[in-house]
Structure formats: structure tokens, C-alpha cells
């Protein structure tokens, strides 16, 4: 099934595309996009199922770091190409849509 490029999906993909080699974890992504973490998670999962994104658990000792391991996401090589192509073909999110998203915590 083709991925539907909603405004939220575009925001996540844009955030990942800013530096395709960089790994980002959920909180970073939700801060950068303004989306609530609960909204970002299903999108990341769908992107992963489509093969656009790969993810891994951070390799740390939670006791030493005093926090649970993070799950890092990054665009795959093919995913970066597909995402750029899809974004260039997609309608850019309008300012009003982004404002509504920011006010509603990413649930618009």
C-alpha cells in the first residue's frame, strides 16, 4: 500500500531529510516537528514498514546512563531518494495547517 503523505508525514520526513545520515530518536523528532510523540510513532512505524526508515535500539547500559535506551531512526538510502521525490511532488503544508498542528499538539 502506498504511503499517504499527510502533513504530519511530511513534517517527519522533512526533519529526517535535513541530515539523512543523522540518527534521530522519538523525542528529538517530536520536538523538531512539533508533533506529539504519540502522533509521530505510527508515522515512523509506517515509514519503517515501507522501507524508508530503519531503526535500532541504542546500545547503552540503562543503569549507568540512568535512563532507558532510545530508539534511533534514520532514512535508508532508498528511503531518502523516495522521500525527496515524494516531497517534491507533494503539496507543501500550508502555514495555516502547520499553525493548527502546533496549537493542537500535532493531532490536526
Amino acid at each position: 500500500m502506498a504511503l499517504r503523505l499527510t502533513v504530519q508525514v511530511q513534517l517527519i520526513v522533512q526533519a529526517l531529510l535535513r541530515d539523512p545520515a543523522r540518527e534521530m530518536y522519538g523525542l528529538e523528532l517530536s520536538e523538531e516537528t512539533g508533533l506529539q510523540p504519540g502522533t509521530a510513532y505510527p508515522i515512523l512505524l509506517r515509514l519503517e514498514h515501507e522501507g524508508w526508515v530503519s531503526s535500532r535500539w541504542e546500545d547503552i547500559d540503562p543503569r549507568a546512563e540512568k535512563r532507558p535506551a532510545r530508539r534511533y531512526y534514520r532514512l535508508t538510502a532508498g528511503g531518502a531518494v523516495q522521500a525527496s521525490a515524494a516531497l517534491s511532488g507533494a503539496r507543501r503544508p500550508k502555514g495555516t495547517a502547520l499553525r493548527r498542528l502546533a496549537e493542537g499538539g500535532g493531532t490536526a
Binding site: G26, Q36, P37, G38, Y41, P42, D61, P68, A69, R70
Partner: protein
């Protein structure tokens, strides 16, 4: 710190829910033909037991699991017995956290565990005042996720084919 809502209060809140489930099951079973009357009774009884067991698990079990999590260093301080700060807001967050754990059980095992682990990881780093909103967002997206995950799980099992005995 013990949760502000004590066991007795929880029991009082739970009783009408269980009563409603049982009454509804009986009413529906009366309306159905005799060969189907077992269905609402079975579903209602299961739901009533699930409500009774999951809302307030025995203190010993909760305490043990909290200690286990702390020993493993996996706890984020959100669950009722391992949280490290006080106040009503934290009680609410701990209550919602338990709801997240229950919701994760409605998902297929592996994706459900991953969802809960990611939620725990993220919520442990988020500022306390944003935590409730973040948990709400997880709960809001859960029904959609449950459907999506089960659809994928069914597809995966169909690809694997039927299980062979032995």
C-alpha cells in the same frame, strides 16, 4: 509513596463497571436466540474478570515487578512503585502509565512490547509538565495502531503458513 487512590476507593469505583458489564451481557443474551446465548455471557464474564484483575493487581505482584524493574535499571520512574517524585500530577501520570501498559497487551506481543518500551524511553526524558499530554497522545493513537499492528501480524502469519504440530 502509595498512590493517593487507595485500594478501597478503587474497589468502589470498579464495582459499578463490573455490574454494568454483567447486566449488559445478561440483557444481550436474553435478546439472542438460545444457541447464541452463551456468547455474551462468555464475553461479559471475561471482560468483568479482566476489569477486576487489571485495574488493581494484587499489591504483592505490583511491588515485586516494581523492584524487579528497578534492579534491572529499566524503570523510568513512571510506574506506581518506582516513581521518584511526589504529587498528584505524578499519580495521574502513573495511572495513565498503567493504562499504556494495559493497552500494549491488546497489540501483538513483539510490536506491543516495542511500543511500550519506546513510550517509556521517551516519557522518561520528557519534562514532567508535558508528560500527561504525551501519554494522552499515545493513548489517542493506540486504537489505530492496534488495528495496523494486527493487520500486519495477520499478513505475516499468512506468509509463514499454518503451524505444523510437533
Amino acid at each position: 509513596m502509595m498512590p493517593s487512590i487507595d485500594r478501597e476507593e478503587r474497589r468502589k469505583k470498579r464495582a459499578p463497571v463490573i455490574g454494568f458489564i454483567v447486566t449488559a451481557a445478561l440483557l444481550v443474551s436474553v435478546l439472542l436466540p438460545a444457541s447464541w446465548q452463551w456468547l455474551p455471557i462468555a464475553v461479559g464474564t471475561s471482560a468483568a474478570i479482566a476489569v477486576g484483575v487489571t485495574i488493581d493487581p494484587p499489591v504483592g505482584r505490583r511491588r515485586r515487578s516494581g523492584i524487579r524493574e528497578r534492579r534491572r535499571g529499566r524503570s523510568s520512574g513512571l510506574s506506581a512503585h518506582s516513581r521518584d517524585d511526589a504529587g498528584e500530577a505524578v499519580d495521574v501520570a502513573a495511572h495513565r502509565w498503567r493504562t499504556l501498559a494495559i493497552v500494549s497487551r491488546l497489540m501483538p506481543r513483539q510490536p506491543g512490547r516495542r511500543w511500550l518500551a519506546e513510550a517509556e524511553s521517551l516519557l522518561s526524558e520528557i519534562p514532567a509538565f508535558q508528560r500527561a499530554a504525551a501519554i494522552r497522545s499515545y493513548l489517542r493513537s493506540a486504537p489505530h495502531l492496534i488495528v495496523m499492528m494486527w493487520a500486519r501480524e495477520v499478513q505475516r502469519r499468512a506468509r509463514l503458513g499454518p503451524r505444523r504440530p510437533g
